[in-house]
């Protein structure tokens, strides 16, 4: 069962985990990404490519379900203006055993960061700047290729 959502509203990670647990799988793993509250960031804006973004996340979820024995995958990514400390992204996976669930989560977030069309802009008191893609993210994604 694949759940993929791109939304402006906040999500409840606990509720999403409870849904993943409902399937009866023995192992549920997840990752939540939040807007950092350091570096003087007041807010962050997330832009996306409507249509292509959802398709890219669905393709990643499909990929994970093919690659690992999973019973469920959830990917939720927020867009719009988010304040410091706000939740940005949730990925979760359910499987019979822990290795698949944990690895699938690593795959989903690492590949989302290089493959999914979102763009972050940080807002500071002095002004705004577009976040630049990092070489470390490419390295992390490469380990799953």
């Amino acid at each position: 069962m694949i759940t993929v959502r791109v939304q402006t509203e906040d999500f409840d990670a606990g509720a999403e985990l409870a849904l993943l647990e409902k399937g009866g799988a023995g192992a549920v793993a997840s990752f939540t990404g939040l807007v950092r509250a350091d570096d003087g960031i007041e807010a962050m804006s997330l832009e996306h490519y409507p249509g292509m973004t959802e398709a890219a996340l669905l393709a990643l979820a499909d990929n994970a379900m093919t690659r690992w024995p999973l019973s469920a995958v959830t990917v939720i990514h927020r867009v719009g203006r988010l304040t410091a400390g706000a939740r940005i992204v949730f990925v979760g996976a359910a499987s019979l055993h822990r290795a698949a669930a944990l690895e699938a989560c690593g795959f989903l977030i690492d590949r989302l960061k290089t493959d999914a069309p979102f763009w972050k802009q940080e807002h500071h008191a002095e002004g705004s700047r577009w976040v630049e893609a990092k070489a470390d993210d490419d390295t992390a994604a490469d380990r799953w290729r």
Binding site: G33, L46, E47, H48, Y49, G51, M52, A55, H77, I88, V89, I109, L112, K113, T114, D115, A116, P117, F118, W119, K120, Q121, W130, V131, E132, A133, D137
Partner: protein, 84 residues
């Protein structure tokens, strides 16, 4: 007709999120289109001066700049993605 979409700082440089154009003669690849747009000057020149700083999608699929766009309906230009 071809839809062109711009995102993030590319959108800010160009000054619009999208536009529709008639297929220009002599434009076969995404790189041809980027160069054709750059020739408009101003914000377009600034956005497309160095295509290696950009990525593109053709009909909502990530594509290399060498991709043939003669049959495409939508081409998007944007910086490397930074989600997650």
């Amino acid at each position: 007709m071809l839809d062109i979409l711009y995102f993030a700082w590319v959108r800010e440089c160009v000054g619009k999120a999208s536009e529709q154009i008639d297929r220009p003669a002599g434009v076969s690849t995404a790189l041809d289109l980027a160069n054709w747009l750059a020739a408009r000057g101003d914000g377009y020149a600034e956005a497309f001066v160095d295509p290696s700083r950009l990525r593109c999608a053709v009909d909502q699929q990530i594509a290399p700049f060498s991709q043939d766009i003669s049959g495409a309906r939508e081409v998007a230009f944007f910086p490397p993605v930074t989600g997650g």
